[in-house]
Every structure is written in C-alpha cells, then in structure tokens.
Amino acid sequence: MDRRSLLRATSALALLGMAGVRQAQAQAATITGAGATFPNPLYQKWAEAAKAAGAPTLNYQSVGSGAGQAQIRNRTVDFGASDAPMSDELLKQNSLLQFPATMGSLVAIVNIPGIADNQLKLTGEILADIYLGKVTKWNDPRIVEINQGTELPALAIAPIYRADGSGTTYVWVSYLAAVSPEWKDKVGVATSVKWPTGNGARGNEGVAATVRNTRGALGYVENAYATQNKLVATQLRNKAGKFVKPDAAAFLAAASNADWNVANFAANLVNTAGDTSWPVVSPTFIIVPLNPTDPARAANVFRFFDWTFKNGDKIATELEYIPLPEAVKQAVRKAWAQVHGADGKPVWTS
C-alpha cells in the first residue's frame, strides 16, 4: 500500500515538468475534504482557482461540522473541516492537527417596517433576552432606550433560529453565552440547543427567507447571506461598549485583536476587545491526521492551503470571508511540520 502510493507520488513529481501530462498530474494531486457548510462557498471557489493554477484539486463535501469531525477521526477523508474547534483531548486521542483556514462573521437580521439596514442598535444582552423569551416586543423600553430617535412599532418579536445542527448556531450561542450568564446557565453552547422560544428554519437561506417573510422577525446569518440577499442587519454593541456596523473593517479589527496564541489555534473571536471590533466573528478549522497513511496526499493538503494562504485572500474578501492575519498564517505553516510520514520525515517543508 505505502510503497505503491509513494511510487505514485514520485512518478507524479517526475511528470510535473513534462508537457502534455497535466491530466495525470491533476489526477495524482486530488485531495478530499468534508465538513463545515459555512466555509463551503469559499472552499469551492478556492478549489476552482487552485485547480486552474495547477495546485492540488480539492473535492470538498459540505456535510456539516459534526460529520466532518467524525470523518477525519475515521480517516475517510484527507481533511475534516469544522466551525467549532475540536477539543484538545479529542485531537490528542486521534492524533490530529487543527488549524484555521479562514474567518467569518455573523450578523443579526431583522424585519421591522420602517427600519433600514444598519439602523437598529442592539446589544448582546438584549439579543440573549429576546431568544430567552424575556423581551417580546420591538418597543420594549430596553430597545427604545438605545435607539433614541428611531420609531419602533409595538410589534411582537419572532425569533428565528437554525433548526439544523450548525456551526453558525454554535458561534451565535457562544456569543449569547459570552454576554449573558443566564443564557450560559439555562441553554448553553452547542451546534444545536434547546431554544426557549422562536421558530426554526433550515440553513442560512431558510433563516434569511423566513425573516424576510415574517413581520417582526429577528434572525442570525453569515454576513455574506445578509449582504447578498440585501437583508436588514443591525448594529451591535461590542465589548468596549461602542456600537459598530457590520463591515469588513470591524471584522478585521476583531481578528487582529484576538489572542491567537492558544492551543490548536482555537482562538475565541467572540466579543473581542477593541473599540471597532465586531463582536461575532469566528474562525473555521481544518483538521488533518498527524500520522497520515499516505504522506503524499497529506502534503497535497498543505500545498493546497499554502496556495490559498498566498493567493486566496482576494477570493475570500469578495465572498465576505475574513482572511487570516499574516502572523497566523506563518504560525499555521510552522505547525504543519508536526505532521510526519511513516519514515519520520515531515510531509511539509516550506
């Protein structure tokens, strides 16, 4: 098994320079990944661009973060992708390496007659109390108080959430738990939770469409969905107590203010410090085996992500994802050296 794959890899390398063998090379350098749905549009675009540029071809299946974690634990794919970081314990048990690929942000979206995009101001505490069923009307004194000068109707709030288990939900509820002790106690954090009130919808598209269909609705989606579908987003109050609009500058501020110097890159980008930081930002992770059975394929995974680190930022920004800071990319490349083949040699050397 091993010898044959090594042979295949070396022959592929030998063919690399020759003309007219691009087909064979492309075939040899195909990698498979499965997991998170949230970065899927980006991974697909990256895969397209990387293939055209001669980098390894990625075949990515967006089956969900949980399934992605399970598949890499069973080694049925070359890498797993997950929005929620895998626990240190599980990574160690299964000899896995975790690194971030990109970042995304969530926004709150509303459907209130007369309210324009980025007009309404909300705080994490109020959001938590809405989803806890404690704030039920849009003209609640607490909302009116921070929205002086904005006319708010006596409309019932219809909280909408993701009904399918989702990394998006994980990020959203970790934000609610970070700002509301009651949320942390009563509901907690997971990819799907026991929602005290509200209606569920399927996928980002479902939440976006349900909010658009329902007067008085409040929901949460990836920023990309909000901008592409021209939904009405809100401002949020960040940790520094400032209200910020969801834009690229605020997302980048959150990313650069985060502490990346943590185990397995599991940085917490929710409710970060800084005057201009957007409070709900999250990295999304790639998980690879530390002891791959096929070092050539593992090397191709790193070649692919190395290519995206160098050339993928523009695509990411266009799709409203947030590129990793340069320092984080360097640290990730360094971490790749931990992955060894059966011969004890690192599969990746930069």
């Binding site: 949980g66 399934a67 399970a70 019932a156 009904a163 399918d164 990394g167 939770v193 026991k194 269909n213």
Partner: protein, 321 residues
C-alpha cells in the same frame, strides 16, 4: 453456460427445467433479499437507537425534552407533531378526495374524467421538495397574512376550540404543515377511492336509481357501504405517506421542539427532526442514537399503518357482500 444452450436448444422441455430452476432460484433470492433488507433496516435502527432507549427508558416515548447541550432527549414533541400533522392532513384531504372520486365516477361528463383523473395522478408525481418550496414561498405568506388572522379572529374566539386557533400568525407551524400534507396525499386517497367506486357493480347503482334514489342517496347508501373498507385502506395509505414526509414538512412546520396548544404554533415531526439534525450528530454520540431511535419509532408507526391498510385493501372474497 446452461442458460445460453437453453435458448438455442431444440429440446425446450428438458433444458427448460434447468432454466426454470435457475429462474426460480433467482426469483426466490430476490424475494428473500427484500425480507433480509427490511429486517436489516429495522435491526440497524433498533441497535443504533438502543443506547438512547437504555438511557431514557420508556420515558423516551413521551418526554418532551430535546436538549443537545445536556444530551437529554425525548421523542414526545416529534411524535406529537407527526401524529397531529398526519391526522389533520387526513381530516382535510379525505373530504376533498371523496369529492374528486365521486365527481370522476358518477357526476362528471365522460370528456372531463380523463383530464381531471390525469391531473390528480400528476399531483402525486410532484416531488416533495417542490411542495416544500411552494409551501414556504406561497402558502406560508398566505397563511400569515390572510388565513391565520381570519381564523384567529373567528374560530379563535370560540370558548373551548378557540385555543387551537390562537397565537401570533407567523404562517409556519403544525396547521400549515398539515395543509401541505393534505395536498400531497390527496391524489393517493382520491385514486384508490375512485378505483374502489369503479368496482361497484353498475346493476346496483342502476337499481337504486330506478327505485327513485337521488345521486346523493346512491353515493351514501349504495357506493359507500359497498366500498368502505377499500376507501379506508386508501386513507391509511395516505396516512402512511403523511407520517413519513420529510422535505415538504421541514420547510413549513416551524421546527421548534415544543408542544403548542395552538395549531398555529410551531412543532416538529420525526422525519423532519432526523433530517435536520443528522449532519451535526457525531458518530457514537447519544444524539445520533436518539435520532436513530426516532427513526425506529417512525418505522414502527408507518409499519402498523401500512399493515392496517393492507388488511383493509385485500381483495374481496367471493362476489357479493
């Protein structure tokens, strides 16, 4: 080898017996595979769900808890949603289907029967995702803006039943899901009912008409008593489909793990819940086991319903009643 000689052989009788044996063996194994498959699916679901059944006991059946954070699961909400949406759908679909069947068999002129009959059958061929999308983008706003406010203002004020028609009109929920399901199962019930009505001997109907019975009396006193078991079988067939429908329901049911007193409230069904939560259920987790256990329960419910329909739809013994 022997099969090819069979075809060319001038002695069909002798080599035919070999071919017969092969043929019958193949058929038998095909039949056996179906049985093995069915048993295997039930067994796999049951074994997968076993940890959940062990952990929560019989309480799993009626517990309304579904908390992925603390890993406490119960099937109460989704069983309630499944049964109530399916039952409501039957309540809405049966009168419609009955009307269609009577129209097609005794009222409509001959030129109309073909097109209407085909249209009903085409309804059955519409994929469920289409019903889901149509329901979400067309029926849900219609429910939210027109039908539900109207029902809340009228039926919602009744003393006892009113509670079923109250709450904010969000458009999604048990009622809307049942409405979509009713449209989806209508063709199944209508088709079986029409076929049953067609089997009523013409001489019975003609005699009744000769005795001065009106069309309504003929339907009520001749056709229905003659076909009641077959009609009930068709209804059960529709019920079976309503119980297992996933895609269309997911779009409109509201997907909330709560039991609401109002029919306009959100709920969940077994099929919808399993489809929604599967992706993020880790292998070996209690959640996955609970979802498999839900699948097992749905299998059992559907199996019972189908068995009843088979029993009712079995061919009539003898000629008369």
């Amino acid at each position: 080898m022997s099969a090819s000689t069979t075809v060319a052989s001038p002695l069909p009788r002798r080599s035919g017996s070999v071919g017969d044996a092969v043929f019958s063996a193949l058929c038998h194994s095909a039949g056996a595979i179906v049985l093995v498959l069915l048993g295997g699916i039930i067994l796999a679901l049951f074994l997968g769900g076993l940890p959940a059944f062990r952990a929560f006991g019989a309480e799993f059946l009626w517990s309304t808890e579904w908390d992925p954070v603390t890993e406490v699961f119960g099937a109460g909400v989704s069983i309630y949603g499944t049964v109530v949406t399916a039952a409501l759908a039957i309540l809405m679909a049966v009168p419609m289907a009955f009307g269609v069947a009577v129209t097609l068999t005794s009222l409509a002129p001959a030129w109309m029967r073909g097109p209407v009959g085909t249209a009903v059958e085409l309804l059955a061929a519409v994929p469920s995702i289409i019903y889901g999308m149509w329901g979400f983008f067309f029926i849900v706003p219609l429910m939210a803006e027109t039908i539900q406010p109207l029902l809340i203002d009228t039926l919602g004020t009744l003393p006892v039943l009113g509670g079923l028609f109250q709450g904010p009109p969000f458009g999604t929920g048990i009622f809307t899901a049942a409405f979509i399901l009713a449209i989806m199962i209508l063709p199944f019930i209508a088709a079986t009912t029409r076929d049953a009505f067609d089997q009523v001997p013409g001489v019975l109907k003609e005699s009744a008409h000769a005795l001065g019975a009106t069309k309504m009396e003929v339907v009520r006193d001749i056709i229905l008593p003659y076909t009641n078991t077959a009609v009930a079988g068709g209804v059960m067939l529709g019920l079976g489909r309503a119980l297992g429908e996933t895609m269309a329901v997911t779009f409109v049911v509201g997907n909330a793990n709560r039991i609401n007193a109002s029919l306009f409230g959100s709920g969940n069904t077994i099929a919808s819940q399993v489809a929604l939560e599967f992706g993020e259920a880790e292998i070996g987790s209690m959640k996955l086991s609970a979802l498999l256990a839900l699948g097992f329960l749905l299998f059992v419910i559907s199996f019972v319903v189908l068995a009843i329909s088979r029993l009712l739809l079995r061919p009539r013994a003898g000629t008369g009643r």
